[in-house]
Amino acid sequence: MKFGIMVNEGPYQHQASDTAYQFAKAVLAKGHEVYRVFFYHDGVNNGTRLTVPPQDDRNIVTRWSELAAKHNLDLVVCVAAAQRRGLLDESEAKRHGRDANNIAAGFRISGLGQLVEAGIQADRMVVFGD
């Protein structure tokens, strides 16, 4: 079965990203497919490679990147929400004249259509937020 997952909150502040990650891992462990994880609202902040969590805590961003690499997941960050909050990839940074970008490995920036499309293509859509 194909799952779509939406994450509406950033790392650490709310548990949403943690729960979504554990849910995604469980989906994969059962042999199902994660069609896409869509990061919206502050959820876009899960896609920054600049986090430096304490040594004794989980690294939420790296965990997503690694899960994506292992299972070829499609981690999509909403472009409009990302622009508002300062999450850019190289081409976005260039386009908007910014001198740096901060997107992490395994994440890509795209439009809200990707969320609707996930709703259409996936058999189940589950939302995690505040």
Partner: protein
């Protein structure tokens, strides 16, 4: 734009949060507008503080924020016409249909529950 391959699903966007205090109402509306391009069966539910998203007379100059409430009026032009508002939520707040800036269907809690149960995809923010 749609690459849905002819699939039509029932999408419901559930709005339970007041505008301006948080961005959820605004960013939810942005998804609704995009969804129009996919030829899906879209409905919007407004309950709890979500009914405040639709109040007439919003004026955001003092907050230096964008007043996005007129966009609800534009939904009709995108063929998004199923707007359901919870009667109990209006009543608790002393609001009536006349206080809302768009035409809506006011429904009971039981009717709203039936509508929700029919959906293929429920997005909440």
């Amino acid at each position: 734009m749609s690459d849905a391959g002819g699939v039509v699903k029932k999408f419901m966007f559930v709005n339970r949060k007041a505008p301006y205090g948080t961005v959820y109402a605004l960013e939810s509306l942005e998804v609704v507008l995009i969804s129009a391009a996919f030829d899906q069966d879209v409905s919007l539910a407004f309950l709890d503080d979500g009914v405040y998203e639709l109040t007439k007379g919003q004026s955001t100059k003092g907050l230096e924020m964008k007043n996005f409430s007129p966009t609800y009026r534009a939904l009709e032009g995108y063929d998004i016409e199923k707007l359901y508002v919870a009667r109990e939520s209006l009543e608790e707040r002393g609001l009536s249909e006349d206080d809302l800036l768009v035409d809506v269907q006011v429904v009971s809690c039981a009717e709203m529950a039936d509508l929700m149960a029919e959906q293929d995809v429920v997005l909440s923010f």
